[in-house]
């Protein structure tokens, strides 16, 4: 090997050796910022502002009739509550649903993957604020609504258009919001 080949090449330019560190610092700042942000794990429905899907569900228990899309086209806004007897947060929101019904709101229920006997037991223990309860055995209607879990509550206007989605159980503090959305949908 000749001498010219082994001559030490110039050292790497100083600025470039800092580039990885700068990139990493940018990532670190972003990650630190994101860690402080509240994490929204909810799947928001893409159906807001769109009409309800066509559906007709049989009654989930003997106490109330079944539901179809026609019931949402009578001109009055309603709440559509997606729930199940096996869902614990659904028990937690029962008093708030009762309160909403007492203030004159019509609540239509859709029971997800449920049995008539379990639905009847749930209603006798925690109250029955529903005007109708449809049985959605395969979550087919639930998925078409863009709902990914129970409980979820939708505000539907008098023409069957989905106006608002509430994810999770309805707390006492959520009741005024829902009443407001119902009034807006009028």
């Amino acid at each position: 090997m000749s001498g010219s080949e082994t001559a030490a090449p110039p050292p790497i330019r100083r600025i470039w050796v800092w580039a990885p560190l700068v990139l990493f610092a940018a990532f670190g700042a972003l990650a630190a910022f994101m860690l402080t942000q509240p994490k929204d794990e909810f799947v928001h429905s893409q159906m807001i502002g769109k009409p309800l899907p066509e559906f007709a569900l049989r009654a989930a228990s003997d106490s109330r009739p079944g539901v179809s899309i026609d019931h949402f086209r009578d001109g009055t806004p309603k709440l559509l509550n997606v729930w199940a007897s096996w869902c614990l947060p659904c028990i937690a929101e029962a008093p708030q649903l009762e309160e909403l019904r007492a203030s004159g709101v019509e609540i239509v229920g859709i029971a997800i993957r449920d049995r008539p006997q379990d639905v009847a037991n749930f209603l006798s223990r925690y109250g029955n604020p529903y005007s109708r309860i449809g049985a959605d055995d395969l979550s087919a209607v639930q998925l078409e609504l863009g709902s990914s879990g129970v409980p979820e509550t939708f505000v539907i206007d008098g023409n069957g258009i989905i106006r608002h989605q509430h994810i999770g159980d309805i707390r006492a503090s959520d009741v005024p919001t829902l009443l407001e959305k119902l009034a807006e949908a009028r």
């Binding site: 080949e5 030490a8 090449p9 050292p11 790497i12 990885p20 990493f24 670190g28 990650a31």
Partner: protein, 668 residues
């Protein structure tokens, strides 16, 4: 009691990590060449620490084996009625347990390094052990203060919550531990790189010490990714083998960096070039495995693999990340200019090709990294996006295609300087093969561009992999060269599988009632019956499907839709029929109402995936190539050590002989 022993062992191991770090660091203060009294403690501390960390993991394993429900981790992740194997695998099927496994493997490899490595200068070794101790200490702190696996419940639980059913699978028994070994092996490569950088000893000797660690880690990563891909393929029931999920990317990125590192460390070992680049890759490879750990466990990204999310853990991990990566990049920036770049070479040489592909690998790494972090970036501005195949596949291909071309040519070139003209006949043959395949596929049908290119490149690459053997006596080819041949051929095989799956897959989704049949890819698939079945901790509906090809004897497939009851979750158990030329993949879905004939109908989803299995055969071949190469390097190293020892003995014998001669002469 057992859990307390584990907890105590973990504390002791943490204390030893501090001793190792301090002892290694103090040894550096002595002048070059002078032995330091402090260096004495670093090696034993690392070895004993390895025993303690493995002991801690063993006690947790025992707690899971006997389902000790007074341990919180067992109660929240296991169940007394679970099959025994899945009780054991449940140990690392959760955040705390898998972190403990991580740390145990880290300590074990640190101990092995301290025990077995005698080739490096003592100063470099002290710095390496100090860095290794520092890395380990961070993880002990993380485990002990925010993820204690040995926490007891005030009142033992009556029954455990169970393990996520998706994880109750043999795939989980092997896939995460394999990946952890890979990640952790990279931590040793990182420590060695930092040790060499700090003591300014970046040379071929150091590269030879680093290479087996990189190679070993890379083999485990390759196996882990291959196994993980196959697990996702048959367990998730979506019919895909790679989803560009953040956690999959988290395992792919260290692999890409390790592949680049593997090749650059070989260049450094062989001809003392690419010094800074090798150090940089060593830092990047470990950073990527740390980054993956952070992304998965902090919950900043949403993934199907997500562990229980806890912002406190995320913060601690980010601090560790900042210390390790930030610290090493700072040292790199300060020291890089003090390392001479090493020997030069021309573009048309083996090194030239290796450098080109190193850059391509890093470009692909950057693309995957950007795609993985992009949702995080947009979410900071309140926009939710998910980045998937439409981004990764074409953008990755921009760099992957030239890389495969150079990969076919590179091994044919000589080191340091070569002329393309010398290998012109080979290039002509390879180009002809590729063009022939393109013509054939285009003639056969209308297929997307990328799979066609993939098929052509795979064919050329498969041939090119064996070209370095031409004109050589096969029995005299070094084992490491066989390793390269097998690994490169494995890449061709895997690429062929991917391209074939992409181009030729057929899919049927139909509502079928028992007795109904579907035609797919030359197969007749008939739904015979659907029945309820039950297992130890699940109930399911099971379909019996008979599949036959061109009138041959039908084979029965039995996919299931399972419902686990602890914890409640539905999974889809796919049924696979493997033939040499592909796989038939069947999934049974929900009931689809009553058909016009008055019978219950079921959603049946069937794929025919020609040569899809070659993806994983290829992956295994690549790993086997790595093993061969590892054995080859080890053989050479042992032979050298033996020769050195014999040489030393001979010299001593001669000296003794000379001495005895001079001693006996006066007596004559």
């Amino acid at each position: 009691m057992i859990a307390e022993i584990g907890h105590a062992a973990l504390w002791l191991a943490a204390a030893l990590a501090i001793l190792q770090m301090v002892s290694g660091a103090l040894a550096l203060r002595e002048a070059e060449g002078a032995p330091s009294p402090y260096a004495l403690y670093a090696r034993p501390a690392a070895v004993v620490q390895a025993f303690l960390a493995v002991l801690a993991f063993g006690t947790l394993l025992y707690s899971f084996a006997v389902t000790d429900l007074s341990v919180k981790l067992v109660a929240t992740n296991s169940h007394s009625m679970k099959p025994f194997l899945y009780k054991l695998t449940g140990t690392w099927g959760n955040h705390e347990g898998s972190m403990l496994l991580w740390v145990a493997v880290l300590a074990l490899s640190g101990g092995l390094l301290a025990f077995a490595e005698r080739r490096l200068p003592e100063r470099t070794m002290s710095a390496t052990l100090a860095v290794q101790g520092f890395v380990a200490m961070g993880f002990y702190v993380f485990l002990l203060f925010s993820s204690n696996p040995f926490e007891r419940l005030p009142v033992p639980a009556l029954e455990g919550v169970g393990l996520n059913p998706l994880l109750q699978d043999i795939g989980l028994a092997v896939h995460p531990p394999t990946l952890y070994v890979g990640y952790v092996g990279l931590s040793v490569a990182f420590s060695l790189a930092m040790g060499a950088l700090i003591t300014k000893a970046v040379n071929p000797n150091f590269a030879k010490v680093m290479r087996p660690w990189v190679l070993g880690a890379w083999v485990f990563l390759t196996f882990g990714i291959t196994a993980g891909s196959y697990w996702a393929y048959y367990e998730l029931g979506w019919g895909g083998w790679w989803f560009w999920d953040p956690v999959e990317n988290a395992s792919l990125m260290p692999w890409l960096a390790a592949t680049a590192l593997l090749h650059s460390v070989s260049v450094l070992a062989a001809c003392d070039a690419l010094r800074t680049w090798t150090i940089m890759l060593g830092v990047v490879a470990f950073s990527m495995s740390m980054l993956g750990t952070f992304l998965v466990r902090s919950g900043v990204l949403t993934s199907v693999h997500a562990f229980a999310v806890d912002p406190e853990r995320g913060t601690l991990l980010l601090i560790l990340l900042a210390l390790y990566i930030g610290g090493s990049l700072t040292i790199f920036a300060l020291r890089a200019s003090s390392i001479a770049e090493g020997k030069r070479f021309t573009a048309t040489s083996r090194e030239g090709a290796l450098v080109f592909n190193n850059v391509m690998l890093c470009a692909i790494l950057a693309i995957v990294l950007l795609g993985t972090l992009y949702p995080l970036l947009t979410e900071a501005f309140d926009v939710r996006v998910s980045v998937g195949p439409p981004y990764f596949n074409p953008v990755g291909a921009i760099f992957a295609i030239p890389m495969f071309v150079v990969m076919a040519v590179g091994p044919l070139l000589r080191w340091k300087d070569d002329k393309v003209a010398r290998v012109q006949p080979e290039l002509a043959v390879l180009a002809a093969v590729a063009l022939l395949v393109i013509a054939l596929v285009v003639f056969l049908g209308d297929y997307p561009l990328l799979p066609i290119l993939g098929l052509a490149l795979a064919s050329a690459l498969a041939l090119a992999a064996f070209l370095p053997l031409r004109g050589r006596k096969l029995t005299r080819v070094p084992t490491a060269t066989w390793g390269m041949v097998v690994a490169h051929f494995g890449v061709a095989v895997a690429l062929f599988g991917m391209a074939s799956e992409g181009a030729f897959t057929e899919e049927r989704l139909a509502a079928v009632s028992p007795g109904g049949a579907e035609e797919i890819g030359g197969w007749t698939v008939q739904l015979e019956s659907v029945d309820p079945v039950s297992g130890p901790n699940w109930t399911a509906i099971e379909a019996r499907i008979s599949a036959s090809r061109s009138g041959s004897e039908p084979v029965i497939l039995a996919p299931q839709a399972r419902n686990f009851w602890s914890p409640p979750q539905a999974t889809s158990e796919s049924a696979l029929l493997t033939r040499w030329d592909g796989q038939l993949y069947a999934v049974i879905g929900d009931g689809a109402g009553i058909g016009p004939d008055g019978q219950q109908r079921w959603q049946l989803r069937v794929w025919w995936k020609p040569f899809v299995t070659f993806i994983w055969y290829g992956g295994v071949l690549v790993a086997m190539g790595g093993i061969l190469s590892f054995i080859g390097r080890l053989q050479v190293d042992l032979r050298r050590r033996k020769a050195a020892r014999l040489g030393a003995e001979r010299r001593m014998d001669q000296a003794a002989l000379a001495l005895s001669r001079t001693a006996t002469e006066p007596a004559e």
